[in-house]
């Protein structure tokens, strides 16, 4: 049974191991002792806090309860842009039209913005390749919504998720070559790496005026808002939950930022409380997310349910064990996926 729970100090080795597997381009968890240690430290601070911190990184791990092994990680930043500015480009439209000449051009622009300052961010999602089956990815990603539903005061009413942008076969984003390179005089990898540490140089080097998209090379234009093929499934999953691309893109690779109000997320909106009744039979059928209501002992797993009565759900003993709950406990429940497909 896979269960998602808060990270603990004991997960250090496991986290270090996962970091080895992430590969290039995954700047938030790199194969780097120091970064892993710092990340864990930041995350542990969030879980130990008794007050509601303004900025916290809630980091979760996915544990296989049968082996005790940690196979995935996911996180939520409670608020971005507070200690470091949060940048993206806002894609705007300007109509340049002359009725007299019968010319009508829709001109698109990219404008540097900090519009998402304060938003909560879905971040740092990584599942070990060997665990990428049986909808484990959905559990790992969506368990965050269950946590947000449970502790809404810890988050902003708006959330975002950044999708990795398109890059060519050599791993070079054409958007960077057409835009960023002119202003940063750096390679993409270098700039990406730097920005994960300190964003002062972005303020110093970025263009302050809008950029006319029609003046960019065609491959750079085509990459605006385009998701990296490897990230397309993650994007579909989030869109099915209610996140939307509203014209904000990453300043380095042009990848889309998806946003949503917390109220508009299906799993948050439709999840509700039930009492647990432990049953003998193994349930079958539609998968549900089931999570506990505790903060530092938050746990979430996915399972079919037995005889769902009004405000009562039937769970087999092994699921209850994985969640560390017993007969009569209150849990939050929602179908794993929306009935409608988008």
């Amino acid at each position: 049974m896979m269960v998602v729970r808060p990270i603990t100090a004991a997960d250090h080795e496991a986290l270090r191991e996962l970091a080895r597997k992430t590969g290039q381009g995954f700047t938030s968890l790199q194969d780097n002792d120091e970064q892993v240690a710092r990340k864990l430290e930041t995350a542990l601070a969030a879980w130990n806090d008794n007050n509601i911190p303004e900025e916290a990184l809630y980091l979760f791990v996915m544990e296989d309860t049968s082996t005790g092994e940690v196979v995935g990680i996911s996180g939520i930043e409670s608020a971005v842009g507070l200690s470091e500015p949060w940048y993206n480009y806002h894609m705007g439209t300007l109509l340049h039209a002359s009725r007299e000449l019968g010319v009508r051009n829709l001109i698109h622009t990219l404008t540097l913005s900090n519009d998402h300052t304060g938003y909560s961010e879905l971040c740092t999602l990584f599942l070990a390749p060997e665990a990428r089956h049986s909808k484990n990815g959905s559990l790992l990603s969506k368990s965050r919504f269950m946590f947000m539903a449970e502790f809404p005061k810890r988050f902003n009413e708006n959330m975002l998720a950044e999708m990795r942008g398109y890059s060519d076969d050599n791993g070079i984003p054409p958007f960077w070559e057409g835009v960023g390179r002119h202003f940063f005089s750096l390679d993409f990898g270098e700039a990406d790496q730097l920005s994960s540490m300190d964003k002062v140089f972005i303020a110093e080097l970025m263009p302050k005026n809008p950029i006319y998209i029609n003046l960019l090379p065609e491959d750079a234009q085509a990459a605006i808002g385009k998701t990296h093929p490897a990230t397309t499934p993650a994007r579909k999953l989030l869109e099915a939950e209610g996140l939307r691309f509203t014209g904000y893109v990453d300043i380095f690779d042009g990848g889309p930022t998806l946003v949503a109000r917390m109220d508009d997320i299906r799993a948050i909106n439709e999840s509700c409380y039930s009492r647990v009744h432990i049953t003998e039979e193994q349930p079958e059928g539609e998968l549900y997310l089931v999570s506990t209501t505790s903060f530092d002992d938050f746990r979430c797993c996915m399972t079919p349910l037995n005889g769902v009565g009004k405000h009562v759900v039937g769970l087999p003993q092994d699921v209850a064990d994985a969640l560390k709950i017993s007969e009569g406990s209150t849990v939050r429940v929602v179908p794993l996926s929306s009935g409608r497909r988008i």
């Binding site: 340049h96 039209a97 002359s98 007299e100 000449l101 010319v103 051009n105 001109i107 622009t109 835009v179 002119h182 202003f183 940063f184 005089s185 750096l186 730097l194 300190d198 002062v200 140089f201 110093e204 080097l205 970025m206 263009p207 302050k208 005026n209 809008p210 950029i211 006319y212 029609n214 003046l215 960019l216």
Partner: protein, 337 residues
């Protein structure tokens, strides 16, 4: 003998011929009869008008072959640009993007749309038939305007500009236009140029990019063309520079050609020209003569021609005096070539 004088209605056919010969290269001289009539009409009205400060007057002059009566050149002055419709330029300015931590220091140049010359006078519409393109005739056609300005200083602004045509490639295309203007105007350079000439200028404001354009985003060819005159404009450029015009980073919004600017009162011709009374003599004396521009008359009667004059005892030939419509002892303006 070539004589410069204000354009008149009888010159319409002559202008049409010049417009055709110039092949649409002059924004202000389109092969369009209505517009050319309007150009003439405006000159006549401007000359008749009592002017307190420069407004929308414009003055065009033609160079007439006094023997054949043919019109072989045209030049003009606009009293003040940007009065009726906005006069746009791009101003090139650099912004420094620097990070001391990363040891990066980028100077990023950008084009800023501006109307900084609003109110300034402008020299424009200079065209001379190929067969008459000697240096001296170019001086006559171009600098006679400055003598006109000297004689009617209150009709012009303290700042004066002149635009040089920008670079074209071997196919007659403007690389600057192809890299920038085309994306916003959705038309050929020639068409945009033609439309500007016939004064339907509203479309410029409607279609132009209003935000600064970062130069690194333009093509190499466009960046190289920026602020450079077309190769055949070198002589005009040299003439203007010798008058005191200089390039300070303003360029034409269509072809990226340089806009030259000067303080009107500091122009060489204005500073150095003299008003004096002159004699008329039939004798072709041997003397150390030098070529000069000689102008006479006010407004409608303004005339200018080239004459070999003895600096010590300036005299004109009877033919020259007749062309200038003066008699011995009359006052003229003189500027050495």
């Amino acid at each position: 003998m070539l004589v410069l004088r204000p354009v008149e209605f009888k010159d319409l056919q002559g202008l049409e011929r010049l417009a055709v010969v110039s092949g649409g290269s002059l924004t202000t001289l389109p092969a369009n009869r209505d517009h050319l009539s309007e150009l003439i009409d405006r000159t006549l009205q401007s000359l008749r008008k009592a002017v307190e400060r420069p407004e929308q007057e414009s003055y065009h002059f033609v160079l007439e072959d006094s023997i054949s009566g043919e019109i072989v050149g045209i030049s003009g002055i606009e009293a003040a640009v940007g009065i009726e419709s906005p006069f746009y330029s791009y101003r090139i300015n650099e912004v420094i993007h620097a990070s001391s931590e990363l040891q990066i220091h980028n100077r990023i140049p950008a084009l800023n749309l501006c109307q900084d010359f609003t109110g300034a006078s402008r020299l424009y519409t200079l065209f001379l038939d190929a067969e008459h393109r000697q240096r001296s005739n170019l001086h006559l056609l171009s600098r006679a305007r400055l003598l006109f300005i000297a004689a009617h200083r209150a009709r012009f602004d303290s700042r004066i500009i002149a635009e040089l045509q920008g670079v074209q490639d071997d196919n007659g295309q403007s690389p600057f236009w192809e890299s920038l203007g085309r994306h916003f105007f959705s038309m050929d350079f020639a068409k945009a140029n033609y439309l500007t000439g016939i004064d339907s200028k509203g479309f410029i404001a409607e279609l132009l990019p209003h935000h600064p354009v970062y130069l690194p985003l333009l093509s190499d060819a466009a960046r190289e063309a920026l602020g450079q005159p077309r190769s055949d404009a070198a002589r005009v450029k040299a003439l203007l520079e010798s008058e005191g015009f200089d390039y300070r980073g303003y360029v034409d919004i269509f072809d990226g050609g340089p806009t030259l600017e000067a303080q009107t009162d500091r122009l060489r011709t204005l500073v150095e020209s003299r008003t004096l009374s002159i004699g008329v003599s039939a004798d072709d004396e041997e003397a150390d003569k030098a070529l000069a521009l000689v102008a006479s008359g006010q407004l409608q009667n303004f005339r200018c021609l080239l004459a070999e004059v003895d600096p010590e005892h300036p005299e004109l030939t009877p033919a020259q005096a007749e062309a200038l419509n003066i008699s011995s002892g009359d006052s003229i303006q003189l500027a050495w070539l």
